[in-house]
Symmetry: C2
Subunit: 348 residues, 2 copies
């Protein structure tokens, strides 16, 4: 089996690749599990060293739109101008995207990276006629609260998305394209809406939600961190492990298990920024929370406050997916997985 991961050098893509390589086999759309012989990571950036060293891993480095247009022949495998990588893919995890903050600041970037690239990818596999399983990473950002149209208290599987950001609109459009290309039989698509992923290791990205990880990661490293929204701000969190679990389950579920072509809300832990800070203090003491800079950032608040904090995800539960137990457990998992990134004395 050959698997392609777009955005495969990013944090989630790389973690997904490691998870797939570790399990060695994957079931696609309810079929018996097969051995994973190759994973191709398509990304602007080269893959992390551990993945690059795995003989089962290929990398294609460059702009996804250019790759799909066939003029991106700068990859380690001579590029994909000949479509080989797409033609041979049994499953595609489409994670490549510009993030929320970037898309709000640069409308054209978002339309190109999230809207045009997703459309081009779908047209590519349609033209090839290979009908791969395609898992599309959408986002809770399709839900947006506004004064004219307040969100319900709890988001359910059938709640109407009313995106209040360009990122949310572009992801929601991607879901619609995946649904229709699937209905037409061009691809076997599954759209999953990722929750706010925390704690992300590594460097901050341009996402408006970035501080939800930074406010934990940086203090644990002994560094100051911005936490620019009020304590009461609700947030629907999922750990990296739970998030990757959702992506893999989307690929493996049979059509009957998966159900409608509407995107699936992944499970999330309903918490608040204040409770996250309290959990940080329980794990790492006052020395950690003393590093939080609570100066408000109006631009980030404006985006984040439109997102919902509470989900009731019956459909995901029926697929065997569950939320993290507590945010404290999420932090402890991060500490366990990233010992080198934890510098604050007394945390283990």
């Amino acid at each position: 089996m050959h698997i392609v991961i777009t955005g495969g050098a990013g944090f989630l893509g790389a973690r997904l690749a490691r998870t797939l390589l570790a399990q060695g086999r994957l079931s696609l759309a309810g079929a018996p599990a097969q051995t994973i012989r190759r994973i191709t990571l398509v990304d602007r950036a080269p893959p992390p060293a551990d993945l690059a060293a795995d003989p089962r891993v290929d990398a294609i480095t460059g702009d996804l739109n250019a790759q799909l247009a066939g003029d991106g022949a700068d990859g380690a495998n001579g590029g994909v101008a000949d479509d080989t990588v797409w033609r041979e893919a049994h499953a595609i995890f489409h994670l490549a995207a510009a993030v929320s903050g970037e898309c709000e600041a640069d409308f054209d970037l978002g339309m190109r990276s999230n809207f045009a690239a997703t459309h081009a990818l779908l047209e590519k596999v349609r033209a090839l006629g290979t009908r791969p399983v395609l898992v599309f990473s959408s986002s809770l950002a399709v839900f947006g609260d506004s004064p004219e149209q307040p969100l319900p208290q709890v988001i359910e599987d059938h709640t109407l998305p009313t995106p209040q950001t360009s990122y949310g609109i572009q992801k929601f459009i991607g879901e619609q394209l995946v649904a229709d290309f699937t209905r037409k039989g061009f691809v076997r698509g599954r759209s999953v809406r990722l929750m706010t992923v925390s704690v992300r290791p590594g460097k901050p990205n341009g996402a408006a939600s970035g501080f939800f990880s930074g406010m934990i990661r940086e203090p644990l490293a002994g560094l100051p961190a911005a936490c620019p929204v009020p304590d009461a701000t609700p947030v629907a969190i999922a750990s990296p492990a739970r998030t990757v679990e959702g992506l893999v389950r989307a690929a493996s579920a049979s059509d009957a298990e998966w159900g409608p072509r509407t995107a699936l809300n992944l499970p999330s832990l309903a918490t608040t920024v204040g409770d996250m800070a309290a959990a940080l203090e329980r794990v790492a003491g006052k020395a950690a929370t003393a590093l939080l800079d609570r100066t408000p950032d109006a631009a980030i608040q404006r985006i984040v406050k439109t997102w919902p904090g509470h989900f009731e995800t019956a459909r995901a539960r029926a697929l065997g997916l569950a939320a993290d137990e507590s945010f404290e457990a999420v932090i402890r998992e991060y500490v366990r997985e990233n010992p080198d990134a934890v510098k604050l004395p007394g945390v283990a």
Copy 2:
């Protein structure tokens, strides 16, 4: 004031133009009404003779995508390669579309006519920076019933669309684009979901819903007509007059009246095919219903049966919009408006 109507030579576009010309003035987004000095009809087909003869009417004939790309210089005004028509538009009614049956049969046609053209139109006005009022005609076809995801009994303003046709998907994507281009301040967009329009005069089009008009229009003309779905088939009907009323109201409503950027479901009369036939018989006798050919058409049934028949349109009601009183009244209005098309003896 200059108004552009895409699809302006079609039945609805022409009727909208006649209505606007008759009222002579239009209020845009709550502003005081102003005199309509020019209406430009953009369409593949030339406009009807009565409109072409009006000194306030211009016509640009050709493919909308080509017009927007600036290479459609085949219009009566020397084409729009210089963008003048778009630059001078205070309001744009975007009605041009490929219809449901066509889009199901020819996926690329639908993507080009409904998806790419709507996107190109929005990018055009964004580039010009003129912020016109843009009324986008979406459709009840964004709602689709399926075994995996049954529609609720009654569609409300916040019901989640789950389109089951490419046409429905493309219209729903158009709504999302209009919403985000509006939020960003590139255009003042309003999306309205048209109901099944009946009785359409003139010739049948490629819409799967075409028989909802044909089953009335053709018998009244003394001609046989297909009625290829069961009597119990529910349908949400609006007369041409009510439909145009909704389009005009969308343009004139202030932002506060309009409310959220989510598309507006226009009012509809909840009826059934059987009740429509019964109304025809009350107006035109058994001689009319005897002309109905009830041979089932599986392709049409497959599309039509996914559409909802019952709407509760609180938001439209608050805007002062109402459904037709009865389907019998709708037929009598058609007879009154189209005396030359009624040939069956004894109908007046």
